[in-house]
């Protein structure tokens, strides 16, 4: 079957970045094809957010062994959300012994926006210009003032609840009212302040007031607390609730699910992209489709994998990779370190619906902001995500309380209302030696596409930061009046926080970067990479808001260049 159809733009991936690109480009008159590797989603069938554990077999833990055998790396997948995630058995990747990487992936229309954490922080120039600040690595090729208008637009579009807190290193934005704190979180906030640290309401992409006129089909959060299983009222931002319906309404979007991109096809004469080759996930038929511009938004490592697999005469090391930088500077945030305990003054009170509010308190970065806060043993910094209050499953019962029988039950009921915990979200330095490559031994996935081999380890900088975070978290909990039960923990394996970033970074110099300051490939002008792969450094803030803002900015530039015939 031959096809002469040439789309204006082809977007790969329908998650946060792909959805935003689809909305923006269709609004600007582009005829867009969006390829999504996974199946379509039907909220009526696939969202099980109001199901109780006791309504299903195995109380929501799933059949014995399913996770270990099928979705062992999809850590946040539960019985209720397992269909949002890939099966590891079909999507392999490799590592060296002793250096694992946890790669959590969602191949489905909407991608990880169906179950993301929703925390929406801006980066500041302390992050964009981090290298100038402390001498390590490279600055981003953009500054906060350039991205700030796009942050504004994104926040207003997706709906973010939070406070204006006046912290220069965590710039304020356009917010709906914040979700209220629990009693324990108020105590924690006061404790943090006693130690000289701020504690603020988390800023989350959830509607806490009446939706604006363009937020069709979305409603206020009703505090059911099951956001990770899919939100049927669309209070939380997701592609399927927000960006994709608007793109579809223009009549200029063609969305094709179950389309696994094998590689980008390039023109033999010019080296420019002319389309993509993809495989139908279900039938395994192979296709090619043509487009004038390609937007890669398949997620950080999938986008880089597609580029590495797009080898040709013009691009023997992968598309746009004559610098050898493609795949380099992989980072994730780390967690796993913190402290937990309980507030004696909250023990034994009547329980409330406190985990319906799917957010908590955040203690923003307080290290290395200036000379006064400089830490002698590490660069950059970390924040603490904290929560306190009752939750559906009394997780503290297993390790914080010992005993058995009636007395044990009594203790669980007593302390059920009192737990408090804080865990770190910390920056990882972007280093050349942390990278991905196509697996050199030739491992492929279920469709015969070469897979990635991950090479990533923490440095002494992260380890020193972890030690400091463990000590500081205990200090804060004690200042808040909590009984501390456990401190420290283990640093999470790279990938576990699901903030993998870098590998196709932006920069002004084509010798040391893959993309220019508008997410456009230095070497292939009609290819843009708009997901987390473009990050130059990780900061310690959750990245999705920045990905959305960068996508918006890149699409604006793309449209202008397209009109001028520069692509």
């Amino acid at each position: 079957m031959k096809s002469n159809k040439v789309f204006d733009a082809l977007i790969i991936g329908s998650g946060a970045s792909g959805g935003m690109a689809a909305k923006e480009l269709t609004a600007r008159g582009f005829d867009v094809l969006l390829l999504e590797a996974g199946p379509p989603v039907n909220p009526a069938r696939d969202f099980t957010h109001h199901a109780w554990p006791y309504q299903v077999m195995y109380r929501g833990f799933g059949p014995p062994g399913w996770k270990q055998q099928e979705q062992w790396m999809q850590d946040t997948a539960s019985h209720f959300s397992r269909h949002f995630y890939v099966k590891d058995s079909e999507h392999p990747y490799t590592t060296d012994p002793g250096k694992p990487f946890m790669w959590v992936r969602a191949r489905i229309v909407g991608g990880k926006t169906l179950h993301w954490g929703r925390l929406s922080w801006r980066l500041s120039d302390l992050d964009f210009k981090a290298a100038s600040h402390d001498g390590f690595g490279d600055d981003w090729p953009i500054s906060y003032s350039e991205l700030a208008p796009y942050y504004d637009r994104v926040e207003e579009f997706i709906g973010v609840s939070g406070n204006a807190d006046g912290l220069p290193h965590l710039p304020d934005g356009k917010y709906m009212p914040p979700m209220p704190l629990t009693c324990g979180e108020h105590l924690l906030r006061k404790g943090a302040e006693k130690t000289g640290r701020r504690a603020i309401s988390m800023r989350v992409a959830m509607l806490t007031s009446q939706p604006k006129s363009f937020m069709k089909g979305r409603r206020k959060c009703h505090y059911c607390g099951h956001c990770g299983d899919g939100c049927d009222v669309n209070a939380m931002f997701s592609s399927i609730a927000s960006t994709l319906p608007l793109a579809a309404a223009t009549g200029r979007l063609t969305l094709r699910p179950n389309s696994i991109v094998r590689h980008i096809v390039t023109d033999r004469n010019t080296g420019k992209a002319k389309g993509v080759a993809f495989i139908d996930r279900v039938t395994r038929d192979e296709y090619e489709v043509n487009a004038k511009v390609i937007v890669l938004a398949a997620s950080t490592l999938e986008s880089t994998r597609i580029l590495l697999n797009s080898r040709s005469e013009h691009h023997p090391q992968g598309l746009g990779n004559s610098s050898g930088m493609l795949g380099r500077y992989l980072v994730d945030h780390f967690g796993g370190i913190g402290a937990s305990g309980f507030f004696p003054m909250l023990a034994g009170r009547d329980p409330l619906n406190e985990d319906g509010k799917a957010t908590g308190v955040f203690i923003p970065r307080f290290r290395n902001l200036d000379q006064k806060t400089r830490h002698p043993k590490f660069l950059r910094g970390y924040g603490f995500e904290c929560g306190a209050g009752t939750s559906l499953f009394p997780g503290m019962a297993r390790r914080l309380i010992t005993g058995f029988g009636a007395d044990y039950k009594k203790q669980v009921r007593r302390f059920y209302t009192a737990p408090v915990g804080m865990t770190v979200r910390a920056a990882m330095l972007s280093r050349f030696e942390n990278y991905v490559e196509l697996d050199p031994s030739g491992v492929v996935d279920a469709w015969g596409i070469p897979v990635l081999k991950m090479h990533i380890q923490y440095s002494d900088n992260e380890r020193e930061m972890a030690k400091d975070a463990a000590e500081t978290s205990e200090e804060i909990l004690r200042a808040a009046g909590a009984e501390v039960v456990s401190t420290g923990g283990q640093m999470t394996a790279p990938g576990r926080i699901i903030h993998e970033l870098g590998t196709a970074r932006m920069g002004n110099d084509p010798k040391t970067s893959v993309l220019n300051r508008f997410n456009q490939m230095h070497e292939v002008k009609n290819v843009f990479v708009t997901d987390g792969a473009c990050f130059v450094s990780s900061a310690n803030q959750n990245p999705t808001l920045t990905i959305l803002a960068l996508t918006l900015r890149a699409c604006e530039y793309l449209a202008d260049e397209f009109k001028r015939g520069e692509l």
Binding site: T76, P97, P100, Y287, D439, Q457, P494
Partner: protein, 232 residues
């Protein structure tokens, strides 16, 4: 609600002429048997691979054994002397299995590893939703008093082994696909003691063979252990 175009029809060009291949199959260890399933045109095909010998060939682990396929139409078919060469690994993440000292030719039970693994399964994931409500893992510190990284270094273990199978005959096995180059992904998620022992051996083996410098004598010890187990 959003509607997707299942098939943009003539807007994309379908490529023809490619013979359909079976690229990779996935199995888990049950005892010493690799059990799994793949689909061809919506039909499930169960398979099992039973290794009977292990060897080191040019610094790589090679298992030899019987491949059996249960075809929905043709029933059970098998091929002997199928070679599976381990080409790569994936490190596991989670609670490390306890690396036990194996007693020659026997499979000792270990409640320690099973209960720790069970605890890990029951632990809620660390998420952005009300973080910190889950108790932290028992702290382990490095020599400088810094927290260690989960599932790395001495806490590490092999999660998946990737094997290239020697060419299989699609007609013999009754699978309507090209089987000339099939990759076997062996997930090590043991639920029995023999599989746990094998995971320990495979973890030691990968340390010896697949981490830069090859330690052939350490690998040979593990090959001997494997052959002892495969004899039973």
């Amino acid at each position: 609600m959003l509607r997707e175009a299942e098939n943009p029809g003539s807007q994309v060009a379908r490529l023809t002429g490619n013979q359909r291949k079976l690229h990779s199959i996935h199995g888990v260890l049950r005892g010493r048997v690799v059990d799994g399933q793949f689909e061809v045109q919506g039909q499930p095909y169960r398979f099992s691979f039973v290794p009977t010998t292990a060897a080191l060939v040019v610094g790589r682990l090679v298992l030899t054994g019987r491949m059996t396929v249960y075809s929905p139409q043709l029933g059970m078919r098998f091929v002997d002397a199928v070679e599976a060469q381990a080409i790569a690994i994936q490190g596991g993440v989670g609670v490390s299995p306890v690396r036990r000292q194996l007693l020659t030719g026997t499979a000792q039970t270990s409640q320690t590893s099973t209960s720790e693994q069970k605890m890990e399964q029951e632990k809620g994931p660390e998420t952005d939703l009300q973080p910190g409500l889950h108790p932290f893992e028992t702290p382990r510190l490095d020599e400088l008093g810094r927290p260690v990284v989960e599932s790395t270094g001495p806490l590490s273990f092999a999660g998946v082994l990737y094997f290239n199978l020697s060419p299989l005959n699609d007609l013999t096995l009754g699978v309507p696909l090209d089987l000339s180059k099939v990759q076997l992904n062996l997930r090590l998620a043991p639920t029995d003691d023999l599989a746990r022992d094998l995971q320990t051996i495979f973890s030691r083996m990968t340390d010896a063979l697949y981490d830069g410098v090859i330690d052939e004598s350490a690998a040979r010890e593990q090959v001997e252990e494997l052959n002892r187990i495969f004899k039973f």
